[in-house]
Symmetry: C2
Subunit: 343 residues, 2 copies
């Protein structure tokens, strides 16, 4: 099995700490030294003892993520965008991720195992549910964690970064009411997720302030794909009393909704108004739709970057960030919203 | 720092090997025992020594990925879909990923560091370039690796899974020629990537067999977003001699191209034919476009699943898979292709 850390260090004329740091990719080791160490690792076949490395540095240099997966679970474009933000910040500090796929029912055990493995310095949690048993698991573990989103039930007594989903859809609904709309539809994300419930809550709040209500037959919860947007919108439009406006929880849902509206021979921004939540996915920009979309906007990539910065600063004890952040979204008006059609 | 592995095992009345295996999530440990071990880990605050775990099991239970990232690099929907496939298979074997973000220029060093860390049992490589220095780095390391895609230059003397990109666009182009098209455009992925170059090659081969050629002004290489599809198609359509058919390397590019075609007042499948490559992204299905798209199809998620199965079987020495696989794509005809318009 070749040399150990001591022998490797002696060969190189470096301290064991320096060699460990070079292998962990810490920025305090210069590029030339790192190259020398990596060459020596290659020629000697040295495989480091993680425990020794951790003794030298006190950390694994990594953030743990649990990725819920099953045969029926679709990939999520929103997750990829968030990961890009997380990675953009992590690479600056030479941090990596341990990504643990897990069946949804095993998630709690997977978090425990991740924390126990010593492979991660911190844990990250997303896809928050209305009430979420994973929070108490994370609290019981001995390493820092950060939540993207928030539970709906119980006190938010844990570190999080969330966007103001209630406010976003409250603002959007209020604008539609000001434009004269009274009958609205909602194309939402899965109903067990907290963000979906908060957006619906915001919509209901604005409606009830004006004595209006939301017809259950005009609400759909689903994964946020083009197809779900299309099918649900089509269903809404064939009803006796179709909506004059629709809120979509994603621009991907809006893509399908727009197609259903066009096929029905209706004009967006005139016959029917549409507002979508925009995560700023580079793949699909709301300003490029044939009728540019009015949106509630918040960058998922920026959230990823911020979460990585907060977790890493917590691990390295380098800077103070607030423990809880609630980001306001922006309501950006484009051509897809207009006055309610006169009947 | 609490107990060590020996003490923890004695507390539980289990062998050290069993405790290690439980912590590593190996299927040979039953669920009840694993729960007991995890509980004991929580109460004692035990943090395992990775080296001891590896001694007991001989493996880390993980696959290493390098994720190229920089401020200007967009997230890639295709990557998320592939990852879902990789995860779907890995979770069955309790394998996880070590995802190492890296600036593109540091990728080679990142691979060396990953291999040297002892944290991964195998490496995975994607986004293959025409000629790719990362291959020789991976060959020089002491752990198994698998390439998604293939280089264009030099012999393919390494384990890979690729789709027949040349054949896909050869078949698509031949169909268009049979329909009477002679002037075609190409909306392709980034030109430094091997798959883009192979698709162009397939197109050129089919054209040259009929004495036809490809006008450079009708070729665009870019990231595969809606916006790039729109802008490039718009540019093609205002030329003196616009194309009567277009090949798109992704359904996301096709989304923008379709919009540009509609805005120009042209009808898809009649005035202009379109064929897109379909990675079977659940978010966006070609059969749901207003004019359903003719596609060359191959599931990215299936590729992810297969790659995980091959790598894990190689690590666990459980099954024999071929070392190199080239998957044919399917050419599926829908309404977006039709006879070339008469002039």
């Amino acid at each position: 099995m070749g040399v150990n850390l001591k022998q490797l260090s002696e060969m190189l004329g470096l301290s064991q700490t320096t060699v460990s740091r070079a292998l962990n990719g810490y920025p305090e080791v210069n590029a030339e030294t790192r190259q020398r160490v990596l060459k020596a690792v290659q020629t000697t076949g040295y495989r480091p003892n993680r425990a020794a490395q951790r003794l030298a540095t006190g950390r694994a240099g990594s953030i743990g993520l649990v990725m819920p997966i099953a045969a029926g679970i679709d990939s999520d474009v929103h997750f990829g965008e968030f990961l890009a933000g997380l990675a953009e910040e992590s690479v600056k500090h030479d941090f990596h991720f341990v990504l643990n796929p897990s069946a949804p029912e095993d998630e709690e055990a997977t978090f425990q195992r991740l924390a126990a493995s010593g492979n991660v310095d911190a844990l990250f949690l997303a896809y928050m549910r209305a009430s979420d048993p994973r929070i108490s698991i994370l609290k019981s573990l001995s390493i820092p964690f950060l939540v993207h989103g928030r539970t709906l039930d119980g006190p938010a007594d844990y570190p999080f970064l969330d966007i103001d989903n209630t406010g976003a859809f409250y603002d959007a609904t209020r604008l539609l009411i000001q434009l004269g709309h009274t009958r609205m539809a909602l194309l939402n994300g899965p109903d067990y997720l907290a963000f979906s419930q908060r957006r619906k809550k915001g919509m209901l709040r604005a409606l009830s302030e004006r004595g209006l209500s939301l017809d259950d037959r005009l609400v759909n919860h689903s994964f946020m794909t083009d197809e779900h947007g299309y099918r649900s919108m089509q269903r809404f439009l064939v009803q006796d009393n179709p909506p004059t406006a629709v809120l979509c929880s994603s621009t991907v849902l809006a893509l399908g909704a727009v197609r259903a509206i066009n096929r029905a021979g209706l004009q967006i921004g005139k016959d029917i108004s549409l507002i979508a939540h925009d995560d700023v996915l580079p793949m699909l920009k709301p300003e490029n739709f044939t009728v540019p979309l009015t949106t509630t906007r918040s960058s998922l990539r920026a959230a990823g970057t911020r979460i990585a910065a907060r977790l890493i600063s917590r691990i390295l004890k380098t800077a103070d960030y607030p423990d809880q952040e609630l980001w306001r979204t922006e309501l950006i008006v484009r051509a897809s919203t207009g006055p309610a059609p006169r009947v």
